[in-house]
Every structure is written in C-alpha cells, then in structure tokens.
C-alpha cells in the first residue's frame, strides 16, 4: 500500500487500488475508541441511463435508493441486525452521486467490516420483499414531500435543468418505484456494485494491511466493466423558467435561488474548482461578508441564509437559500452584489481572511470520521485526493474566486424558487 504523509495537518493515509479495481483508503487515528468504515459505489440517484457493452439501459427514478434499502436483506437475515448485534452502528444513504454503506464500532471492527463487505456484495431480492419495500419507501417519499426544504430545492432544480436527472428526487416517486422489480435490482447491482466502481474508506485505530487482506478475501476478484452514464443533453446554462412558487404550511417564506451549468472537470482541476467555488461563495455570502451583514441587519435574512456549490452528474449548481419575507428582494440584492464584485473585485483583506478560515475549518473536519471518509471516496470517484485541498486552499487566488462569481452568478443564469405561506 502507498503511504502518504501530511505532517502539517498531522495525518497519514494508506491507499491502494486492488487488482479488482477497488479504491482503498485507510486513515489511521491512533488513540480513538471508535473506528469507521465507509463502503461506497459511484452510483447515485442521478445515474439512471447507462451503457453496458453496446446497449443502453433506462431505469426508473429511485432505483439506487431502493437498492440501498434492499441491500441489507441477506438470505439468512438482515445485515443491519447482524451489525447492530455485534456492537456496530450501521447506516446507509443515497445521494445524487453516490450510495454508501457505513458503520461505526468500538469493538469487533474487523468482523463488522467482513459483514459490511459481504452484504453489500451479495444481492438477494424477492418479489415479496420488493413489494414490502415499495410500501416503506412510499411512506418515506410522502414524508419528504411534506418537507418545504425539499420542495424549495427541487423547485429550483426543475427551473435550472431541462434534462439532467438532478432535477428529480433521489428517492423517485411513488409511481416510479412501482416499476421496480427484483430483476431491476439484480441488474443494477451487477452493473454498479462491481469493485472497480467502488471505494472502501476506513478511519480509525486500525491495521491497514488487515483491512486490505479482508477486502481481498471477501470481495469478488474480477474487476467488472465500469458503466458509461448518460445524463441527457448538454444543459444550456440558462434556466427553463426563472420563477417558481409553491404554497405550503410554512411560518415564513423560504427561498432557494441559484444557477446550473455544465461542468465535467475531473482530477485536480475539479478539486480546484470546488475550492474556488467555496471561497467565492463564502466571500460573497458567508457570515463575515458585507452582503450577509447588511441583509441580516435589515432583517431581510436570518442565520439560515447560506450558499453552496455542488458538482455532480456532469453539472455544477450554486444554491443560495434561506428564509425571508421578501425573497424577490434577496434575489435582486444577490444579483447587484455579483455585479458590484464584477466591477470592483473582492476585498483583498476579506479574501485572505476567508482563505485562512477555510483552512482551519478543514483541519477541524479531519476529526469527523464520516465526513473524512465521504470526502476520500467522493474524491476518488472524481479523480483527485481530498487531503490535497490544504495545499490548494493555500494557493487559491482572489482572481479565481472573482472569475467563479463572474462565470456563474449572472442575472440571466439565475432562477428563484419560493415556498410561500398557504393563504
């Protein structure tokens, strides 16, 4: 295994790509009680149309998430119970980009790791269990539909993208999941859960060699074919519509405004883009930015206000969200601030401070095992190394942040989604 040292931040990382294509990362944390394992596939809610061999396959919305729920079923019981019984705290999630299974444990780590790798690589689905899950996930979908945060976010996504699957919910709809059969699940498991499409990250006081040995022993020896994904026609970068509004039982109107654009950078360029986007948005919308402080003092926004950039499924999105009595005015203020920065540039002192704060926050993040493991896996799928972010932050420039703002936060590229009070 390759050993990477990061003396400044006090981290060490063992990494390897196994003969079956699995990306493996072990970040040792001596003296910690808990250990954390995170097993992820580069398969999320947005990966719906893919090519395998010469053939294109279309799958209903929500399969990745449905599969995540059903993976815990084993021919001899439920893996969740097995792990919990062995003292682990297991869970799983599906995002637009990835599906991950993880557990934390303070004892029996290697045994739990064997269980994790075994159940995720063992598909076992029956008609009956699929039907039952349709009921459970149907409830989950309904629950999420009552959530205004969800409504305001997907409202925006549907304004921004014409074709890209980011516009649809990761869990799908009650109708789309009704199309799922055991065969759909077997097929998608075969395509996306082969080791060359996956990463295993372990953070804790563990023996890296032993982790590697277990992965080699339990996972399939063959590297499967990595599927090619189609995210639909290239997006124009301009919204389909610029305003959408929905009424719900909320105490104060909520808004999400932002833009979407094609973005397929990989490797270190992708990391640099993420860092630039983060710094740019913090300078513009963070708690020490002039805009935040002015709008906060005017009572137009509250501490829920924030901005985030995401790069998934061949597109980048910037989402600025919060609660406000006057979302339209917030929209106008954001546009004007972007225009002002376009003319005057960012304040150099502010940029230097934000960069320093970003560095410190990232150091702190190294203590959150779940976040660290997630970053290791996600960066492996994007072809960069997340711990390089420290040196990228140090070399980031004000001009790059200004360029990000100029490229993305243009008036004609922005849309506004609002969830307003029911009348």
């Amino acid at each position: 295994m390759r050993e990477l040292e990061y003396p400044v931040i006090g981290e060490k990382l063992y990494t390897d790509t196994l003969p079956n294509g699995l990306r493996l990362f072990v970040c040792p944390k001596p003296g910690y009680t808990k250990s954390y394992a995170f097993f992820a596939t580069d398969y999320g809610g947005a990966d719906r149309r893919f090519r395998l061999g010469d053939e294109w396959h279309d799958t209903p919305a929500g399969v990745a998430h449905f599969l995540e729920h059903k993976m815990f079923d084993m021919p001899d019981g439920n893996a969740l119970s097995v792990l919990s019984a062995n003292g682990a705290d297991p869970n799983a999630f599906t995002s637009s980009g990835i599906t991950a299974y993880h557990f934390m444990s303070t004892e029996g780590f290697y045994e739990n790791l064997e269980t994790l790798l075994t159940f995720v690589s063992t598909p076992y689905f029956t008609e009956e269990s699929v039907q039952k899950e349709q009921g459970i996930i149907g409830q989950e979908i309904r629950m999420v539909e009552d959530n205004p945060y969800y409504a305001v976010y997907y409202g925006l996504m549907q304004c921004l993208f014409a074709h890209n699957p980011m516009r649809e919910s990761v869990a799908g709809t009650v109708e789309s999941i009704a199309e799922i059969t055991p065969q759909t699940l077997y097929d998608c498991h075969a395509v996306f859960y082969n080791p060359s499409n996956m990463a295993l990250c372990v953070v804790g006081d563990v023996d890296a060699e032993k982790v590697r040995e277990i992965a080699l022993r339990i996972l399939p020896a063959e590297a499967g074919e990595r599927p090619v994904i189609d995210y639909g026609e290239t997006e124009s970068g301009l919204p389909l519509c610029t305003r959408v509004e929905k009424q719900m039982d909320v105490s104060m109107p909520m808004f999400a405004l932002g833009c979407g654009f094609p973005s397929a950078l990989r490797g270190r360029a992708s990391l640099r883009q993420r860092v630039n986007a983060y710094l740019a948005l913090e300078c513009m919308f963070g708690s020490s930015s002039p805009l935040f402080n002015r709008l906060y003092a005017e009572g137009l926004i509250d501490s829920s206000f924030g901005a985030e950039a995401e790069f998934t499924a061949g597109v980048g999105t910037v989402v600025i969200s919060g609660d406000s009595e006057d979302p339209e005015k917030v929209f106008e203020e954001v546009v004007r601030e972007a225009e002002r920065i376009g003319r005057e540039g960012l304040d150099a002192g502010l940029f230097a401070r934000i960069r320093r704060a970003a560095y410190g926050m990232r150091v702190r993040g190294l203590g959150r095992f779940g976040d660290l493991a997630y970053d290791l896996a996600a960066s492996a799928f994007e072809g960069y190394q997340t711990l390089d972010a420290f040196s990228v932050i140090e070399s980031a420039t004000k001009e790059e942040a200004e360029k990000f703002i100029a490229d993305t936060l243009r008036r004609e590229a922005l849309a506004l989604s609002v969830v307003s009070r029911r009348e």
């Binding site: 004892e107 409830q139 989950e140 629950m143 009552d146 560095y359 095992f369």
Partner: protein, 432 residues
C-alpha cells in the same frame, strides 16, 4: 480521559479535559436557570443578542472577521433544555494550536472573545441596543413559528405541551410566541444582568491546554463578572403518575400527506431512584435503536410506518414514541406500539435482544470519548443532573444491566397521552 473540576468564581464551575487526541478544541459557557413560561424566550434571546456585538467589536461583521482570523473558529449561541432546567450560553470550537502554520494561541483568543461577548455587550445608557434586541426578537419569533415546518418534531412538541400542561416541562426550549412578543430592550437588559449575577455557570473545555492554563485564562477573562447570591434552587419536578386516570387522546388536523403519531408515558415509580444505565438499555431495546422492538416489528415486519422510535428524558422521567404512518393505520400502529411495550413487560425478549441493547448503548457512550462536542454535551448533562460517572463508567454499567432491570422499567411506565396529527378530512367524507 480525566475530567477535572474547579470552581473559578462563586457558582462558576469549570470542567476541563486535557488531551492531545483532537484537532478541534472546544469551550462552552452555560448559564443555568429554571425553565419557566415567563422567562424561557428571554433566556433564549440573550445569546443571539450578545452575539450581535461587544464593546470592542460592536457589530457582527467585526466579530466574524475576528473569528476568520482565528482560523475559522466558531462561536454558536446555545439554548438547551435539561428536564426543567434551561441552559443558555455559547459553544465555541477552534483548531488546536498544534495544527496551525504559525505558533498562534487559539484557545486564549477564543476564550477572551467568548467572555467579552458574554460580559461586555455593546450598550447605550447601560441598556442593550433596542435595534439588536428587536431584530433578534423578531428572528426568535420566526423560529418559534417555524416549529410547524417539521411535522415530526411539531407532533412531539404538541404531545409534550398537552401531556405536561401545568408543568414547567411543557414550556418549549425557546419559549412561546406570546412571551417573545412582549420582550423589549429594557426588560431584557434587566433579566440579563440578573442572570449574570445569580445563575450557576458551567464552563467546559476540551483540548490540549492544561488545566492551570485554562483556569488562568478564564479567570482573567471573567474578572469583571460580578456575582450576587447564586440561585442554586433550580431543578426538575418528576411527576410519577399520569395527569388523569385514563390515557388522554388528542387529534389535530393539518395539510399533511403523512400522519404523525406521538405517544407519551410517565416512567413512574422507577424514577424514585432512577437507574441511568437500565433506563438507557431499556430505551435501546424498546425503540432507541435499529434492533429495537419498534424498529423490528412496527417498521420492518409489519411495514406500518416509515419510522418509529422512542426517546427517554432521564431528567424528567418520561418516554416519548414518535412514528410516521398512513392516516388509516392509526389504530393498528398504536396497538402495535403498545403491544411491543407489553412484550417487554412480560419478559418476551431473548437474551440476544438484551445483549444487543446493552452493547449498542455502551458502544455509543464510549464513542462519545472521540468527539469534543459529544464530551461537552455529556458532561454538561452530567453536571446538571448531579451525576458522577464518566461516559466510560456509565458504558460499563450498561453492560451489567439485567433482564429484571429492563422489565421493571417497562412495568413501571404508564401511558399518559396519545397525540395524532392527520391530514384534513374533507367534509363529505366526514358526513358519511
């Protein structure tokens, strides 16, 4: 990991954990006071008003800029409810000095700033600025009104309000709309000065600095804190029996697509001498965990709901179950939730189930030693409860919990109230 306790000033206690384990250090300062209807919103408002500015840094932009220079240190307002005690103050976290390019002293800078924010707010004529108070009061009002946005927590909130009507426990962590509306800068200043003089204060630090250094820095930063007679007479009234003889039922309607069922119990006689370890293991077995009876049966076997889980308030001695269900599954889900508790009362659980519950409880307590934030919240709760175990000691006690201990708690619990939040029924359907 040893926690050292020191009294810095009258009624100001420091709990200090010195360790090289973490890259993040944390410091919290908490004022403790009785939770009550008249003051809960005022208390909740104080930290956010103080975060608007102090004499040296009179606005948020200046405070944020200083925090950026402290490598992105954060100071968050904290308002917590421990039974019928309300805790308010700040939680700060920051990078440990060892991982920064230059030899800066993060803790010293953060401690100084936290104490300045607490003790030297920007004032005019000795009063908090009306502008800051009004604007934060409006935000607090928005927050109180936004309870309705999250239906699961809203249903729990309504259950507690109805079940514990007449008890301080029914008061929400951040108070009520009516009380918040009546706050002005004069009232708030008086209340703030009062609290500073009389509230017991719990300070927690975890990081690489040694106790002597932490103590010296804090004493210096708190030198202008004037203490009066400390109000130690605060605590939680544990009600053993239900409010009425029979369980009370409440139903409310709202425009939702999923129903929310919330059920509350008094833990009863077992709270005479509460066994902290047994209560935790019991909760894990009943509904606190993915191997629990509620998860396994109500969700997994019967698919009656998307979630069903239980929580126990160890301070107040009540248990709450929360579940999301289809409207027409109300009777069935309720029956099943009761049936699972009866199963524990009758000892219908395997040695394995008990072992799972013991292990998962112990494991999550032990994992608390791996995070400064988890340690902070554990020790604050422990100090308020007046308990003396560390998380590791409590974990060991959980492993000793017996079948009889768990059965005794289940038998002692009495159901007080059931609350159901369902969709609006159209009138025609009701007439039929």
């Amino acid at each position: 990991m040893n926690a050292v306790r020191r009294e810095l000033l009258p009624g100001v206690a420091l709990t200090c954990i010195t360790t090289d384990k973490f890259k993040t250090g944390c410091l919290s300062v908490n004022l403790l006071t009785q939770l009550c209807r008249e003051n809960a919103a005022k208390n909740a408002l104080i930290p956010t008003v103080l975060l608007r500015g102090c004499t040296r840094l009179p606005d948020m932009e200046k405070i944020s800029a200083e925090l950026d220079m402290l490598y992105g240190a954060r100071i968050e307002p904290m308002v917590r409810k421990y039974g019928e005690i309300q805790s308010l103050g700040f939680y700060a976290d920051f990078v440990d000095d060892r991982y920064l390019p230059e030899g800066t002293k993060q803790f010293d800078g953060v401690a100084k700033l936290v104490c300045e924010l607490l003790l030297t707010p920007v004032t005019r004529g000795g009063l908090l600025l009306p502008d800051y108070v009004d604007s934060e009061r409006d935000k607090l009002l928005d927050l109180i009104r936004s309870r309705i946005n999250e239906k699961r927590s809203y249903s729990m909130f309504r259950l507690v309000e109805l079940m514990c009507c007449g008890e301080d426990y029914a008061v929400a962590r951040i108070g009520s709309e009516e009380e918040a509306e009546s706050i002005n800068y004069k009232k708030l200043t008086r209340h703030y000065r009062d609290l500073l003089a009389t509230a017991p204060i719990e300070i927690f630090y975890c990081g690489s600095a040694d106790t002597e250094h932490v103590e010296a820095v804090l004493k210096d930063a708190l030198h202008n804190l004037l203490r009066g007679e400390i109000d130690y007479d605060i605590g939680t009234d544990i009600r053993m029996n239900t409010l009425e003889e029979d369980t009370r039922y409440f139903t409310e309607e709202m425009d939702v697509s999923q129903g929310k069922l919330a059920i509350g119990w008094r833990l009863g006689d077992c709270m005479e001498e509460p066994d902290a370890a047994a209560l935790r293991v019991f909760n894990a077995m009943y509904g606190g965990d993915v191997t629990s009876k509620l998860f396994e049966n109500v969700r997994e076997k019967l698919s009656l709901c998307y979630f069903a889980s239980s929580m126990v308030d160890y301070f107040k001695g009540i248990m709450l179950v929360s579940s999301g269900i289809e409207f027409d599954k109300y009777d069935e889900a309720k029956r099943e939730i009761f049936r699972q508790l009866d199963a524990i009362r009758n000892g219908e659980f395997s040695e394995e189930e008990l072992q799972y519950a013991r292990r998962s409880t112990a494991s999550s307590l032990r994992a608390g030693s791996d995070s400064p934030g988890a340690l902070e919240s554990f020790y604050l709760g422990r100090n308020i409860g007046g308990w003396d175990w560390s998380n590791e000691e409590l974990a060991a006690l959980c492993e000793e919990v017996t079948r009889e201990d768990v059965i005794a708690i289940a038998q002692s619990a009495v159901c007080d109230a059931v609350y159901f939040l369902r969709g609006e029924q159209d009138e025609e359907a009701e007439e039929e």
